[in-house]
Amino acid sequence: MKKQYIASISIVFLILLFIFGSYIYENRKLKKIGFLAQNNASIFVRDHSQTLGSDDAKVYLIEFSDPACETCSSFHPFVKNLMAANPGKIKLVVRYAPFHVGADYFVKILEAARKQGKYWETLEVMYKTQRHWANHHNPQPHLIWKFLPGTGLDLEKIKSDMNDPQIAKLIKQDLADAETLNVRKTPGFFVNGKPLQKFGYEQLQALVESEIRAHY
């Protein structure tokens, strides 16, 4: 019957329009981020950003992360393996996107720990013990203090340092950059300014490896 054709053609047309629209949108987003990477590289790496890896590395892995985010925690060992597998070629840049309620508390602790030269140790402890204090149904941020002594940090100093307005400013800047770069979920990865389009371990590995091939 003719009516059935009209209906089928309409739905196929609208779905194709949807797919076509997504394609156009993604393309425009890529172009915009590519433009930012070329003309405004500091949006990816600020002077205040904590980095790991050789300064000669040609592949910059930028991670917008949240200490209270489970996926960031489970991605962390993977990112470290990636760096170990390509020694000297990858530089990890940590940016903050503390989207969880109250997560900036942990960023402040991290940044205070950085002043004592124990940033990565503290991050490690945070990710490892996260399930105890960041449980979604019952977040208990104060519990983090129970786990910190193992890092050898001067906790009294942390408590005074973490209120440094400089840290609050840094978080604000990172959140503003995350917004510009359309990062709405954590972890948000960029490799040399290219966004990780499809989220996943393999996809991240593929993106990093393609950048390594392009630069070495």
């Binding site: 009516k3 209906a7 609208l14 709405r184």
Partner: protein
């Protein structure tokens, strides 16, 4: 006989247009959340709950044409339209922010998009629900005549 056919045809077309509006709204809202990655707020979810099933219910009413479709589709369209109206009031500031129901996560009054400078997402939803409602009411009148 021919006249009767003509009327049935235009009745069918009215439901068909409602169906198209429902599909465009459904795909549009999915585009906003999945492709543009705007997180849907609580009120948006309530509107989605009433819009998404319309796609299937209206389609079922089209093949074969079922005059009872009004009975099934109108309550959904009216309720969704109610939520959309409330959302629109909240969005445009007629209802103060402190009265809004979503306490955590995404704010219902944050502006994500303004098409052509005035079309916001709640307004699009309002237009869709009300178009469907008005068309179904017109159909109801026609069928009772």
């Amino acid at each position: 006989m021919n006249d009767l056919d003509q009327t049935t045809n235009s009745n069918w077309t009215i439901v068909f247009i409602c169906w198209i509006v429902a599909i465009v709204s459904t795909l549009g809202s999915l585009f906003f959340s999945e492709i543009m990655e705007f997180p849907p707020c609580a009120l948006c979810w309530y509107q989605r709950i009433f819009m998404f099933p319309l796609v299937f219910i209206l389609l079922a009413g089209l093949f074969p044409f079922d005059r009872n479709i009004i009975k099934y589709a109108l309550p959904l369209a009216l309720t969704g339209g109610g939520f959309a109206f409330y959302h629109y009031l909240l969005y445009s500031g007629f209802i103060p922010e402190s009265l809004q129901p979503c306490s955590q996560g995404v704010s219902c009054s944050e502006t994500y998009l303004e098409l052509f400078g005035f079309l916001t997402i709640p307004m699009l939803s309002l237009i869709s629900f009300w178009t469907i409602t008005v068309l179904l009411l017109i159909l109801k009148r026609r069928l009772s005549q």
